[in-house]
Structures are given as C-alpha cells and as structure tokens.
C-alpha cells in the first residue's frame, strides 16, 4: 500500500472531525427546531381550544335563548297550558319556530311538552331525521330535576340508517316535572355531528383532533364526527382528565403518540380536549435521537481512535528520536513525559553547543594560524569578524602560561585545565573594565588574552600593567604555582596584524622560564639589548674566586639583564657565557661536540633545559666542572643504565605513574641530568619516548582486540583519562582511535 503523505492523513482526519461536528450540529438544530415546532403546535392548539370554547358557548347560548323565548312567549305558554290547544290553529307560531331553526342547521328538532307531560308538537328543520322522539323524551324529562339542563343520547337516524344520531337535548321548564306546579317543557335537540362539523370543519390540521367532553366522559362534540355521543368514561385519557385533573399529558397507543391538551371550559363540567397525533416514529423521535446519537458517538469514538492511531503513526519516528536523545541525555529523569519541554531544552543545548562549537572552531582556526604563522591575514580577519578587536583603536595581547612547579608538579591534564580556566576567569573579570576582553586557549597550559580598546574606552597602560600584576600575584597565590604573564606593547590599530606582537611575547615566554622568578613582563618590539659583559666578567670573577653564591647571584643578574632580548639571542648569550666559563678550564673537549660548532652544541644543550632550576643546575655543573674539575661522563656505564631504562619503559608502559621523575628516582640520578642522559642515549626526550611507546602499543591493541573499548585501551597503555588518550592518540596518529580502528579494518578487508 502506498504511504499517505502527512497532508493526506491530516485531510482525512479533518474531514472526519468536520463531518462529526457538522452532524452533531445538524442534530442539535434538528432537535431545537422540532422542539420549537412542538411548542408552537401546543400554543396553537391551546388558542384553538379557547376559540372553540367561545364558539361552542355561543352555539349553546343561542339555542338556549331561542328555547327560552319560545317557551316564555304567549303562544308557548298557551300551547302548554291550554287543554284545548291545537297547533294547526296556531300555525303562525309553528312557522315562526320553523323559520328560526332553519337558520341554525345543528338544531335537529324542537319538542314542546305540556304538563301531561304530552307532546303538543315538534318542529324539525329538515336536515336530519329520526323516528318520533316524544316518548323517549318524556321518559327522560320525568327524571330531570333541574330547570335548565341537557342530556346526551343517541337515536336512530333515518337518513343514513342504521347509523345512530347523537343528540344533545337542551331543556327548559319552569319547575321540575315531579312538581305539582309543572307546566311543561321545551326541548331543543341539537344534532351533535352537524354541530361538530360546523364547529371544527376546515379549521383543524390532519394530525389534530378536538373533543368536547362532559363530566360523565360523554363526547359532546368531536372533530371526528363518528365519535360524537360516545361514552369514553373508561378511556384511559378521559379518566386522567376527569379524575386526575391533568391539563397536559401524553399517551402511547397503537403505534402512535398522542399529546393531550385540556382546557376547562368556562361552562361548568365541560372539558375541551385537543389531541395531537404523532406517528410512532415521530413519537419515538426522542428514542430515535438517542439511537442516532449513540451511532454518532460510536463513529466519533472510532474516528478519534483512528486519529490517535494515525497520530501515533505520524509521530512514531519523532518519538523514537526523542527517546534516543533522552538516552544520551542527563535530563531524562527531569523531563519525563514532557517531550516538548525536553525537546526545547535539548534544542537549546544543541544550539548553544553548535554556537560554542562554531566559536571554538573559529578560535581554533585563529590559534592555529597564529601559532604556525600560516595565512598571515587570517588571525586578524577572525579577530575583526568576531569583534575581538576593532579598526582604529588599539589592543594588547597578553600571553599567560602555567608553570609545572608547585602544586602543579606532576599534575594531570585536568588540573592544568582547571587552573588555566581559573586564571582565565580572573583575567577576564579583572580586565573587562579596560576594554573588550577575549580569551583564547592556546593549549593545556597557555592562554592568549586579547584586550581591545573600544571607540569609547582607552586603555591606560600603567593601570593595565598594575592590574595584571595584581591578578598575577593573586593567581599565583591561589594556585601555589608560577604563572608567566607577558603583555605585548600596544598595537595601535585593530587592523594591524597581531602575528608579530604574538611572536614577540611568545619568544619572551621562552625566556621567562629560565628566569629565577615569574612576573608580569611587557615585551616591546624594538628593544635593543647589549650583552651584559660586566655581568659575565663578574661571573667569571666569582668563578675564579670560587665564590659559588656570588656566582649564582651574578648568573641571576645576568639572566635578568638579558631577559628582554629575543630568545635566540638569549640562548646565544647563555651559550656564550657558558662557553666563556668553560674556556676558563678547557673543559669543552671533554663534553664532546658530535661534530658541531661548540656554540651550536651548547645552544642545543641549553634549549633542552626546562626551567630556571635546570639552568641553575647547568651553571652549577659548569661551576663544578670548572672549579673542582668534575668527573667526565662515562659513556659506557651511563649507556648501560639507559638500556635498562628503555626496557623498563617497554615493559611498564601500562603504569600511569611512569614519568621522568619516577624513573630518575629509581636510578638515583637527578631528573634534569637523567633527561639529558636519556636524550643523549636515545636521541629523543624520555617523555616523547614513553608517549611513542604507549601510542604504538595502543595502535596494536586497537587492531588486535576490536571488541575492546577505547577507554579500556587507554587504561591498558597507562592513560586513564579517555579524553586525554583520544587527544594524545590523535596527535600521534593524526586520527581518532575509533577512526584508526575502522581504517585498519577496511585496509585489512581490502588486502584480503
């Protein structure tokens, strides 16, 4: 199956949700409209009932009034009372009654009874016909105690035989027939069907029926003509109206729902009932809606479920990425379950890291080019680009180097790094006030600080130096080790290359290590120094006088006096001094020159010295050689020791404590001299030799044991810190250990 695009998936999901929302809204609107319609229908039915009640009353009143007027008229009285009365002799009265009822089609007939009671005559209106009713009427009248009243009954209808004709008989009489003073009754028979037709015809919608019921549950009038005159006393809804007095209720019957609205007529004991008929499916609309709702909820649930599945599908790769990042992150615990926050943090860290990396890359580029002198313009370009320096204003370079004495004697890389950073912080904190301050790391021990004036600030050189001295003192005291600080002369414009000043101070740094004490030194570009011949003379004098302390003092003064020249000159001067010392006692031939000129040899020797202590040792040795004609170095016995040392290194490279000091102690030779001897014997320094041995071993193990981890291999060759091991390895082989292993692996498979 073809993979759907994210857009398509979102489209389906939105379609689904939109469809559900639309449908739900439609349902709500439908229910609302249906409810409104129902409400309106009920209101309409109520109004209709009220109107019907008014008209019904009017009909009844009209009939009663007619009856009363006939009953009370002189003809009416005479016809009832006069025993000799014959109605054909009073046709005017009869014709008048006929004429009057002819306009009221629902009056079926009028019967006039005398006190017998016996029927005097009856008048019909020609609309509906029954058998003669007088006997039945007389029977019924005898039981009526009221003066005015009605009863509902049914008689056979001739016209549409055998249908029953429901009649409502209104009667009026002066007194009850049981009374002795009874004078006759006038009865008006109302044709209930015809009255219903007149009352309801054409006014009611198909689904509405109306009834007028009396207190006995008899249907007086009905919009369904056939129901007129029926007794509904036992009908459930009639019972609820008559007994429970309900005015509005519903009933379900025969697949229909009937809503009843009842109006208490203003006539006593008469009820007007509107029956709204709804087919069952409409009646069950509530149930139907519930079913529809259920179906749609199910669908909605399904679609939401599918949406979850889809989103899961969509976000699975992302979730995987997040979990991968988490695995490598320390924040795993903190940001559990909060992917977005976690991602945000991770992103911020990442971006900071990238920025740092970028800066670092640039710094590295700067440092590389600065140190090597390649691409002359590049370092300056980087400084300007990063706003380390600015065109038009001056800046200084400050070179800081940590000495390996004091607390840092035998210190590992991390300690140097920590100390270096501490010094860096001290410097930037102290110098920030002077101008734009940027620190570059030149190595584990060295820092380069570029402090630039800005357009607003000028650097007061004296104050700067003063501050540097303060920082120097503080840093040395805090670290309990020597720190060399060299500051360049002010470079007047940011556009002027920093290469030359850097090399001058770097040159100066080389000299500084030979000085008896560290301090802040400013190196100027154009210092012309004269060889301190007076000091040489004093040294030689001291030598001749065999005054060792004065000799050392003089050497110290010589060093201090010579410190501002360039390194080459410095070394040369030292060599010259050394040579002149040596010449005092013709010891040059003893030391051996290996074919070199004597000055060059001495220079080489001097350059091998590490610091002031070495130099002091050098001059002490010279002193001793000159003064007491010290021993000649026996190449043979020393060579035997060095062979042992080489074996020692090859066997114990995994011992991380192995260094020049430990070995010198082991063979009871001073470290400086031990180093010198080793170099003479092997042609390289002991440190370099140890490192080379370790690296070669590491390279072999990497290839031989591909399952071993890098850190493990580092430990195996005596470098416990994996990062340091990585750095050393890269320095030696030019590639990282893992790449070296991959490269060798590929090489092997290619060979095969």
């Amino acid at each position: 199956m073809k993979e759907k695009s994210l857009k398509q998936k979102m489209f389906y999901v939105m379609c689904g949700i939109g469809f559900i929302v639309l449908t739900m809204m439609s349902l709500i609107v439908l229910v609302f409209l249906w409810h409104q319609m129902d409400k309106e229908t009920r209101t309409l039915a109520r109004v209709s009932l009220s109107n019907t009640d008014v008209v019904f009353q009017e009909y009844i009143t009209q009939a009663k009034n007619m009856g009363n007027s006939w009953y009370g008229s002189s003809d009416g009285v005479q016809s009832r009372i006069d025993a000799e009365y014959k109605f054909p002799e009073h046709m005017a009265f009869v014709n008048q009654m006929r004429e009057e009822i002819s306009h009221v089609p629902y009056i079926q007939s009028v019967y006039l009874m005398d006190s017998g009671p016996k029927c005097r005559f009856s008048v019909g209106n020609g609309y509906s016909y029954t058998r003669p009713l007088e006997e039945e009427l007389m029977k019924r009248i005898r039981n009526e105690e009221m003066v005015n009243g009605y009863f509902i009954w049914s008689v056979e209808n001739y016209l549409t035989s055998p249908e029953e004709l429901p009649l409502m008989s209104l009667y009026c009489q002066e007194v009850s027939p049981q009374s002795d003073n009874y004078t006759g009754t006038l009865i008006i028979n109302l044709d209930l069907r015809r009255m219903s037709r007149r009352l309801f015809s054409g006014t009611l919608p198909m689904n509405v029926e109306m009834y007028i019921l009396n207190e006995n549950g008899m249907v007086m009038l009905s919009s369904v003509e056939a129901d007129c005159g029926r007794s509904w006393r036992n009908e459930e809804f009639v019972r609820r109206i008559l007994e429970d007095g309900k005015t509005e209720f519903s009933e379900r019957k025969d697949r229909h729902t009937y809503d009843y609205i009842v109006l208490d007529s203003s006539q006593s004991d008469v009820y007007l009932v509107a029956k709204l008929i709804r087919p069952q499916f409409v009646g069950n609309l509530g149930g139907l809606l519930v079913i529809l709702l259920f179906i749609w909820l199910t669908l909605a649930f399904l679609i939401v479920f599918m949406t979850f599945r889809a989103s899961d599908h969509l976000y699975r790769p992302l979730a995987q990425v997040i979990s991968e990042i988490r695995q490598g992150s320390e924040e795993t615990k903190n940001a559990e379950g909060k992917d977005i926050r976690f991602l945000k943090n991770a992103y911020q860290n990442l971006s900071t890291y990238i920025t740092t990396l970028e800066n670092k890359t640039e710094a590295d580029e700067f440092v590389k080019n600065l140190v090597t002198g390649n691409k002359e313009g590049k370092p300056q370009e980087i400084l300007l680009k990063n706003h380390t320096v600015f065109g038009g204003v001056g800046y200084y370079l400050i070179l800081v180097s940590l000495s390996g004495d004091g607390d840092l004697q035998n210190a590992d890389m991390h300690m140097f790094e920590a100390r270096r950073n501490m010094v860096g912080q001290l410097l930037s904190a102290g110098l920030d006030v002077f101008g734009q301050c940027t620190i570059f790391e030149l190595g584990i021990r060295r820092l380069l600080l570029v402090i630039s004036e800005t357009k607003d600030t000028k650097i007061d050189e004296e104050q700067l130096l003063e501050e540097l001295n303060v920082i120097h003192t503080t840093a040395e005291q805090a670290g309990n080790s020597s720190i060399y600080i060299l500051i360049s002369q002010k470079i007047p414009d940011g556009n002027i290359s920093c290469l030359l000043p850097y090399h001058i101070i770097d040159d100066g740094l080389k000299i500084q290590r030979f000085l008896p004490e560290s301090r802040v030194v400013q190196r100027l570009t154009d210092v012309v120094m004269i060889y301190p011949e007076d000091m040489e003379e004093k040294i030689l004098t001291c030598l001749k006088q065999k005054d060792y302390d004065a000799y050392l003092d003089a050497v110290r003064c010589f060093l201090i006096r010579s410190q501002y020249c360039i390194y080459g000159t410095f070394i040369f001067w030292l060599a010259r001094l050394s040579e002149n010392i040596m010449r005092l006692n013709q010891i040059l031939s003893l030391t051996g020159t290996k074919g070199k000129k004597i000055e060059d040899y001495i220079c080489d020797q001097l350059e091998q010295l590490a610091d002031y202590q070495d130099l002091k040792q050098w001059f002490t040795t010279l002193y001793q050689q000159v003064t007491i004609q010290l021993f000649t170095v026996s190449g043979h016995s020393n060579a035997a020791i060095m062979e042992k040392v080489v074996d020692d290194v090859s066997n114990n490279y995994s011992d991380d404590g192995m260094n020049i000091t430990s070995l010198a102690e082991k063979y009871n030779i001073s470290a400086a001299y031990f180093g010198k001897l080793f170099r003479e014997f092997t042609g390289e320094s002991l440190n370099t030799y140890i490192m080379r041995t370790r690296m070669e071993k590491a390279g072999d193990i990497l290839v031989e044991f591909p399952e071993k981890e890098i850190a493990q291999i580092g430990q195996m060759v005596g470098i416990a810190n994996p990062s340091y091991f990585g750095i050393l390895f890269k320095k030696y082989y030019g590639v990282s250990p893992s790449k070296y292993r991959d490269y060798k692996k590929t090489q092997k498979s290619e060979e095969k």
Binding site: M1, C15, F19, F87, P88, E89, M91, A92, V94, N95, R98, S102, H103, P105, S109, F121, S122, V123, G124, N125, G126, Y127, S128, Y129, R131, P132, Y158, L159, T160, S161, R197, E225
Partner: protein, 496 residues
C-alpha cells in the same frame, strides 16, 4: 483501499442527500409556479338538499380538484335545505356571487334584478354538449320577458309528475293486494285500511300535499296540477280558452280538504307534515312509509331497494288521471347578477358536466371505485347512498344506464312515458309577479297558516274555510286573479 472508497462514497452520498433535501423543495415550488399562470376563477354553487360527509368531501376535494385541474375553476359547492328560497333571495339581494337552483316561471328574481341575463347565442357556442342533451326542449321555460335567466337541467320524461303514488308494493302484496291492480279510490282505501291494520306504526303517506293531484279524477273534472307550494291560480288543460280559476276556491281544493281530514281521522296523515314536512320523505327512504308521490321513473327506481332490502317501489295511478306535462326540466340554474362577469366560466362548467358520460358519471355518481363500479353489462352500481349533484336534477336519457334487474319493458316504457302525455295549456307561461308581490306575500301567509293545514286535513275545514277565503281575498286574491288572467290571456293569445 476498498473500505476507504466505500467510506468516501457514503460520505458523498450523504452530502448529496443533504443538498437534495435543501434544494428540491425549491425546484418543485418553481415547477408548480410555472404551471398555473392564470389565477383560478372562484365560483360558488348552491343547491337544495343535504350533504353527507362523503358528499361534502367529494365537493371539497375530488370534484373540486378535477374541475380546478381541467377548467381552472376553483368551485365551492354549498347546500341549503329545501324551502330555503327566502334565504337564497337574501343572498342574491345582498349581491353575493353565486349560481343556484331556480325556477324562472313564477319567480320574482329576474324582475328584481337578482339574476344575470344569459345570451342564447353564447350558450349555443359555449355549451354544444349541453345543447345536444337539451335538444328540442329549448329555453322557453327559463325565460322572463323573452330573456333567458337560467340554464334548465335535465332531459327526461316529465308527464304526470305528482299525479300518481309511488308505493311499497311489497307491503301491499303482504296484505293481499297489488299496486298495479289498484285503480279506484275505493280500492285504494281498502288497501290502506288493510296495511294500516297490519302495520299500525307505518306511515301511510308522505307529502299528502300532492293528494289534490293524485286523487284528481275523484275530486274534479278539471285537469291541472299543483305543486307543494301555494298555487293560487290555475288553468284547466281540459277546456278551450284562456280562463283562469282560483285554486283555493275550486271544488278540487274543497274536496281534497275533506278527504285529507278523513285520512287524518284514519291515522293516515301525520301531524308532522306541518311541522317537519320532509320527515315523511325521510321515513319513505328509511322504508317506514307506504305511499310517496310518484313520478315517471317510479317503476324503474332502484334507490329504495338499495336502502331497504326487499322494498318494491311501484306506481299507483287512479283511473281517469290525465298525464299532464307541466314542465320540461327539473330545476334550472341561475347565475347571480353580481357574478355576471363569470357567465362564461359557468357555461363552460355546465357544458363540461354533460361533455361525456365520464364527466356525467363523476358529477352524478362520484368517483369510480370509491362511490360506484361498473357492472359487466356496463350499468353503474353505486357503492354508497350519498348523493352528489342529484341524479334527478342532472338526468339526461342518453347517459342513463339501468339496473339489470329492471325488465327491459319497464325501461322502454319509461323512455316513452311522455308519448301519451298531454301538454299543459300553460306550459311555458311565466307569471310576472312584480305587480302583486305584496299580495302574494300576504296570501302565502294565509296559505301557510290556514289553507295548508286544511289541505292536509289537520285544520277543521268547515270551521275555518270561509274565514280563510275571506282572509285570502283581504290579502288581495282578486287583484292577483285579475292580474294573472290578464297576463295569461295575453300570453295565450300570443300562443294562438
């Protein structure tokens, strides 16, 4: 993939349905609007009689819709009880737009300007099918002073109307007689006595107001007929000349009053003939009456048999009865003056009713399947007893179908009924009452209060007759007779 397609198709279908539901009512509304460009003409027709719920429904829905569809006429039909002429007159006088039953001869309506005048040429143009049915009878009966004011309906035998009895021969047979054999008054009385004895609860006669015609050979030598209303003047069709007689002073009237009184005494005439005159007819229709007034179709009438199982309707005509044709239509229909601008539509409607047998059947018998079915022989069998436009009113011989149970000789006899009938001398004469309107009103009151009760035997003749005639004369009988004589002589002279 298939499921997805299904889902999409179901979705589109639902959307389509919603759109249909929203737009379709509008489309159908547009269609409906387009169809009927002209507004339907509203017409209102009123006739006498009574409506059942079915006949009301028929006029309100079935007939109304068909007429609306075919003629673009929005017709409403109303029914007034028999004898509602006064009410109708009021409606006409108040300018209501309608068409109604009318009898032009003797009517005051044309003179009062209630009715629209009809153009004969227009009738001939718009009503070719009606004219074909009307044929030779023409429009004389619908004219007032030479102008046509009504459309006469019906084309059938009219001789001897109200001059015979229709009887329940099944009852008569059950007491040992036969209607066909009763030819004298004595034979009649003998039979009535036998029936009354056996069926004391049965009404003997309905509408005894026609006794004057039915017993004519026994009452007088003159030949004339009366209706169920007051007839003040008559001419003797048995004699030459233009002499006009006063009915209530005639031997015939005096004799019938005495006979009727005798019948009342015998219990043959009911009191309700005065108070509820149509009750008797209802009882006849319900099978509880022995005699009714006869007419040419009595012997072929199956209506009663359908309503009262076993009933056999048979004519009793006394020997010596002259079969008189007093009219050549049943009722005519007039259009109110206020509705004169719709004469064209009315004539179109009347013609449409007679256009073919389908339309005629619809008008008279209702909807096929609901109200009637056709028998194998093509005759019509009614499924209910509801009346629409009354058959007697509409009847046109050419559209008649007969119940197969009726012997062919009877149907033939019916169709040739008028062959031996005598035309009334005053057939086609229309009395202009305008000059004696108030006299007629006063005389009618006297008739209703005195003469009619006497005519029905319910008011003592000897005690009241002289006074009644006196009252009649006081009311203007002489003036009336004079005017009638004058007009008739004039008309009669013209006929000669």
């Amino acid at each position: 993939m298939k499921i997805k397609k299904k889902v999409i198709s179901v979705l589109s279908l639902s959307i389509l349905c919603m759109l249909m539901a929203v737009f379709c009512p509008k489309i159908s509304a547009v269609k409906a609007e387009g169809k009927e460009s002209a507004e339907p003409v509203k017409l209102r027709f009123i006739f006498y009689g009574d409506l059942t719920s079915r006949s009301e429904e028929f006029f309100r829905k079935d007939f109304h819709d068909i007429v609306l569809d075919e003629l673009n006429i929005d017709l409403s039909v109303e029914v007034l009880p028999w004898g509602s002429e006064d009410k109708l007159a009021t409606m006409l006088a108040s300018g209501e737009r309608l068409a109604c039953f009318s009898i032009i001869p003797g009517s005051t309506w044309p003179a009062k300007g209630y009715l629209a005048k009809l153009d004969e040429e227009m009738i001939r143009q718009l009503c070719p099918d009606y004219i074909k049915m009307r044929d030779k009878n023409g429009f004389e009966c619908a004219k007032y002073e030479g102008d046509i004011y009504a459309i006469p309906f019906g084309n059938k035998p009219y001789g001897g109307r109200f001059q015979s009895f229709a009887s329940r021969n099944d009852i008569i047979k059950s007491v040992g007689y036969n209607a066909d054999d009763i030819k004298t008054y004595d034979e009649l009385m003998e039979m009535l006595a036998a029936v009354h004895e056996k069926y004391p609860d049965m009404r003997i006669i309905s509408k005894p107001v026609f006794l004057q015609n039915q017993l004519a050979p026994y009452l007088t030598d003159q030949v004339y007929t009366t209706g169920d209303g007051p007839k003040f003047a008559y001419v003797d069709s048995n004699e030459e000349g233009d002499k006009v007689y006063s009915n209530f002073e005639s031997e015939s009237f005096k004799n019938v009053c005495k006979v009727a009184a005798e019948w009342v005494e015998l219990g043959y005439i009911n009191m309700d003939e005065l108070t509820n005159p149509t009750q008797g007819e209802a009882e006849w229709n319900a099978g509880n009456c022995l005699l009714y007034h006869g007419h040419p179709a009595t012997n072929i009438n199956t209506g009663l048999k359908n309503a009262v199982p076993g009933a056999e309707e048979r004519r009793i005509t006394l020997d010596g009865t002259t079969k008189l044709i007093t009219q050549n239509f049943d009722w005519s229909v007039s259009i109110s003056a206020a509705d004169a601008d719709h004469v064209e539509q009315w004539l179109t409607l009347f013609n449409w009713m007679y256009k073919n047998s389908d339309n005629y059947n619809l008008t008279v018998n209702g909807i096929e399947g609901t109200d009637w079915t056709r028998r194998d022989d093509g005759s019509i069998e009614r499924l209910n007893t509801d009346t629409f436009f009354p058959g007697w009113f509409m009847e046109a011989i050419e559209y008649n179908t007969y119940d197969p149970s009726i012997p062919e000789e009877e149907t033939k006899a019916y169709e040739h009924w008028d062959d031996d009938a005598v035309l009334a001398k005053d057939l086609g004469f229309s009395f202009d009452t305008s000059s004696v309107t108030s006299e007629i009103a006063l005389m009618t009151a006297v008739y209703n209060e005195k003469l009619k009760p006497m005519q029905l035997g319910l008011l003592d003749f000897d005690e009241n007759y002289e006074q009644a005639i006196e009252e009649l004369k006081d009311a203007g009988l002489d003036k009336y007779m004079e005017e009638y004589q004058r007009q008739f002589s004039e008309w009669y002279a013209k006929q000669q």
